[in-house]
Amino acid sequence: MTQAIDVQAARKARRRWEISVADEAREAESSLRLFWTALKRDKLALAGGIFIIFVGLVSIAAPLISPYDPYEAETSLRLEPIGTPGHPLGLDGQGRDILTRLMWGGRVSIPIALVPVTVSTFVSLVLGLIAGYFKGVVGELIMRVLDVFYAFPTVMLAIAIAGIMGPGMMNVMLSICIVLVPYITRVVYTTTLVVSEQDFVEAARASGASDLQIVFGQILPNVLSPIIVYGTTTMGLQIVFASGLSFLGLGVQPPVADWGIMTANGRDVLQIAPHVSTVPGVLLLLVALSFNLLGDGLRDALDPRLRL
């Protein structure tokens, strides 16, 4: 019996929350306001978004605000731990300040994920809209080819591509793009299929709108929401993954500062100086977590059930 009461209470709690959001949002007018109101109430998503912006700004400003030069080595202070005077996060195996390298690392670790996700999203939008709306032979061909790429575990495929092509930021970004496109295209494709069947698309067609007008005016706006959610969540994963590639030596090369390379540098000294490996990893975790929370918040905020 207690279980049944719990479920009822849960239902009531959810309903009360839904109603209060709707009350607040009723003052807003456009669906954009509704969405923004719902998002603001999700404190975790907001915290995630703020943290991401903070890390981004620090990374951009690194040349101006970092306490030291990322390549400057103070060999007498090698492997000093967290809390060393003047070096709050300690120093690495070559005597370089870890806090500084974390700040500079963001200038590599963030774009190396941001660029592929953005580029893949554009490519996937084109492919998915074509395949989902116009269908036909071209559409079938696109989806069949992507099905083949679905057959590869993504980690393996990206490592193989990046590894075979050689080290460097461009190759890593390219391999991540190749790996992401099938997944994002599938999301665009299925959403396009669903939206194409809706009445308002029929109505637009009946009133004489051209295919292009329908795609940009009706389909695309409705495809964007799930894509934005997917893109945000995958950003977190890709930052971790790109760092993993650098960790394996497949991305940027030392002495460039990057969160993955920093973690790899600490492997040899793990027993005596664990902070060298663990600190960059914590930052990675927090950034990925922020993107995940933001993505979850966006998804909940875009949930049609909240639009009353």
Binding site: V7, A10, A151, P280
Partner: protein, 316 residues
């Protein structure tokens, strides 16, 4: 059911063919000329041409692909450039080791995920739910290579409960207990993300099912709660869980790579990585072939199992 299985098997063949084409084309991605690389400083135009003929590189690409494919299907995966050993001999024992690691990780992820997910769903909004959700959300953001290092530091280096690397101890007694000791840390660090994903999925899938009217009816009929949850709700919540578990299994096959490298687990992931660094293309191709084919068949098995659970899906 048999018809569904047959149709799915037929659909898989063009995909496997496509996979083989992509893997074959991999050779083309290597920068520079393979023959020149192999010959090194002694390369002259005549020697390069001779090696081309020897490796069959002077034939048109589709012909090369066909010859390569026929060889593969006969079980001849080529010879490693680095160690002059047949690729199959090199790669298959390593693949077995990866299967052991992947299986252990999958067990941890599925059992853990089901356990935490069901408790979260059944006691929604309680402290157990909150802890479960936090674990799942943080877990899915955890870099696996970082987690491996942290676990290694705490449990292997500091507490000395488990060994830091390898699959067997060099001077140990060998056998199952030895492998299990070496398996614990790698299995946990590889299982972290799949566990997080499965937990959230089990929770949301169970929540959807529990809210259905027939569950209330079952309770009204006086069925004990345990039967309601495990006998009925869980069975109906399973299809998406099984599909995603299939995907996670594939992810483990490839993603265990980080874990294998860090813990020096002698698996196919680690072999793939070192062969990539050595530009040993035949081994890379052979390893990718085995991993991808297994991934495809695993997902097929998951789909078949889901169709078995949910007859409505068999029509497609």
């Amino acid at each position: 059911m048999a018809g569904y299985i047959f149709r799915r098997l037929v659909a898989v063949i063009p995909i496997l063919l496509g996979v083989s084409i992509v893997i074959f084309l991999f050779m083309q991605l290597v920068p520079g000329d393979i023959a020149a690389t192999l010959l090194g400083p002694r390369a002259t135009p005549e020697k390069v041409a001779a090696v081309h003929r020897q490796l069959g590189l002077d034939k048109p690409l589709p012909v090369q692909y066909w010859l390569w494919l026929v060889k593969m299907l006969r079980g001849d995966l080529g010879t490693s450039i680095a160690v002059q050993v047949p690729v199959a001999e090199l790669v298959i024992p390593k693949f077995k080791n990866t299967l052991i690691l992947a299986a252990a990780s999958l067990v941890v992820a599925v059992v853990g995920g089901l356990f935490i997910g069901i408790i979260s769903a059944v006691r929604q909004y309680s402290i157990y739910d909150r802890i479960g959700l936090v674990l799942a959300i943080v877990g899915s953001a955890t870099p696996s290579f970082w987690l491996a290092l942290v676990l290694m530091y705490v449990f292997a280096l500091k507490l000395r409960w488990f060994p830091t690397s390898g699959m067997y101890s060099l001077r140990g007694p060998g056998g199952l207990p030895d492998v299990l000791r070496h398996l614990v840390l790698p299995a946990i660090s590889a299982a972290a993300i799949p566990l997080a994903v499965i937990t959230r999925l089990v929770r949301s899938s169970m929540l959807d099912v529990i809210r259905q009217d027939y569950v209330t009816t079952l309770r009204a009929k006086g069925l004990p709660e345990r039967r309601v949850i495990y006998g009925h709700a869980l069975r109906n919540a399973l299809p998406p869980i099984v599909s995603i578990t299939g995907l996670q299994a594939g992810f483990l096959l490839g993603g265990a790579l980080f874990t294998e490298v860090i813990f020096s687990w002698p698996g196919i992931g680690r072999q793939l990585y070192s062969s990539i660094l050595a530009r040993d293309v035949p081994v890379v191709q052979g390893a990718m072939l085995i991993i991808s084919f297994t991934f495809v068949l695993l997902n097929l098995a998951a789909d078949v199992f889901v169709a078995y659970l949910d007859p409505k899906l068999r029509a497609g």
